[in-house]
Amino acid sequence: MTVDDRFEQDLMETVRDRVIDPRSAIITGPVSDWATDFSHAEPEWAADPYLIQDELRERCPIAHTERFGGGWLPTRYEDVAAIAYDTDRFSSRAIIMSNVRPPLELAPVGGVPPISSDPPFHHDARKLLLPAFTKTEVAKQEQATRAFCHALIDELQGQPVIDAARDYAQHIPMRVIADMLGFPPEDGPQFREFVEHALEGVNAPPEERVPRIQKLFDYLLTQIRDHVDNPRDDLTTYLINIELYGQKLAPTHVAGTMSLLLIAGIDTTWSAIGASLWHLAKTPADRERLVAEPGLLPTAIEELLRAYAPVTMARLVKADMHWNGVDMKADDWILLSFPAANRDPAQFDRAGEVVIDREINRHAAFGLGIHRCAGSHLARMELRIALEVWLERFPDFSLADPAAVTWATGQVRGPRTLPLRIG
């Protein structure tokens, strides 16, 4: 038996050029005009992107910015869908809109396969992950997730005001994904740091980004090496051993996929649980109806996912082209806002309202096309259990201080502080 020596080297040597080389100047500060200077990294966007997007859809449905080295923001469902489906002209080589474009040679794999991969590689890399994330497979974790939600509430019971984002929502996906990857559950606080750095630090200078990414890769390498020495039945061991095209995966593929599962697995669901509780806290009629009719929850969850879709993706334009009335340049960003698509009145009746018994709901919260969120069944399970347990234990709650609610900035949006008054 040969020794698996793929993970002896510092991965940062290989990935360094993907995170430095900021091709574009870092531009921050108030947006002058959302149609020509948009930024998803500013506090106005985090506070309420829907107003901005609704106004743009009317006035300038494919907005532009010079920030991040140039990018476009389509707000119509039709345009968002067309870009999601058009993998020939829009690359997933980078999916976080920042000031760094990873080198062209990184395609079709990308840094965090398969979300960062283009066809035909994408299909094969994705196929490796799908069996672990089917509805049937994730159902096996339902019981443990429910017990964990109850345990969180046991700790919180008796407090008049609970920060539901910090003390409830965030812990649920952290525990679930840590269990799936085989990471120590007590490492949660580090995961939070990784998530915030990856998604909210897009305008940080390279001297800050590099050590942050180094820290994430150091952590992943420690976990990988431990799994090489002590293999077990989890996704980390699976990724270390699995073969693609007759070979084990490159060390950057293993670590990249693990960082994807860790980061995408946590803040998205954390955001969806938090946004749902925020809506129910400020909408007593919906909260009371769900308490009285628990069977409506799966329908309501789809509507909450539509209205508060947490995830926006990005693409890079492959080559200069005229597209739906605008002149796109190679390497321009596309900020692919599924939340904006989900509120397009051309696609949804009463698009700006939350209709918790909406029966026809063709929303795009988990994306469209080949990059459909691989964790969507896991996310739906976690969201359903988290809300069921919360509503069962705390049927009566409200916003303790609406002004104290804070939202994450960037491509994943959800409450990060959510003080709820119980009873």
Partner: protein, 63 residues
């Protein structure tokens, strides 16, 4: 009435097997599959239409 999934379009969102577990199931990668011959039992026509209207990829066909 008969239901069919266009496998070229299906991306495994699973809305069909969430909403109509009697008509659809998932395969080992999470893609939707029609159970049996796809013939919609009498009285289930409305469910079939609901599935069609909820598939994000428009992959469901009613024959």
């Amino acid at each position: 009435m008969k239901v069919k999934i266009n496998a070229e379009r299906c991306q495994g969102h699973g809305r069909c097997y969430d909403l109509a577990p009697g008509l659809f199931g998932d395969d080992e990668e999470g893609y939707g599959q029609v159970l049996g011959d796809g013939v919609v039992p009498p009285g289930e026509e409305q469910t079939a239409r609901l599935i069609l209207a909820n598939c994000p990829e428009r992959a469901i066909e009613i024959l």
